[in-house]
Symmetry: C2
Subunit: 104 residues, 2 copies
């Protein structure tokens, strides 16, 4: 089973970034109870005021995909989507090693 | 002091990715002894065979910048640069919170 990661870029409608960040931080706290999730870090951008990046690392892609069905996930997604100016952009990555990666 | 993060994309010359990954994993192990470094994860790409992404999170940008002067860092950089096809691309991010982020 190889680790799965992604960087997801969200662009919100003007003035909606902070509310969107709050929703993602709620999602992140839900991940605390999800063993397959190693990282779910919410970030803003120093150069793009409406941009939010999420850094994710999972023990496997299967566990990432399953997380979209856990309790509360769909509700959070439904709340958050109207705040977006467009579709998220995702960069898929394959974590190999380094500081902070737990070799599952 | 606010956390600092970045995603750095390296593109190697054909056939040099794995050697480059080895150099970055050596750099990552050096970060184990650097308290200000929370994350230094080396990743490959499922879609770009010559691409290497590094996920970094630091307690501050100052500590990130200082890391470029620690023992062995410059030697690793000098070994690695010739393997690159071009300059790295860096996406600066500001970690806000979430699973895996240590609030310094």
């Amino acid at each position: 089973m190889s680790a799965y990661g992604c960087y997801v870029k969200f662009t919100t409608k003007p003035g909606q970034r902070d509310t969107f960040v709050t929703y993602l931080l709620n999602a992140a706290s839900a991940m605390e109870k999800v063993p397959g999730c190693q990282l779910y870090i919410v970030n803003t951008s120093p150069t793009e005021p409406e941009c939010v990046w999420v850094t994710e690392v999972w023990n496997s892609q299967e566990e990432h995909d399953a997380s979209l069905t856990i309790e509360g996930a769909q509700e959070t997604i439904q709340l958050a989507i109207p705040l977006l100016a467009g579709a998220p952009e995702k960069i898929d990555i394959q974590p190999v090693g380094g500081k902070g990666l737990i070799q599952a």
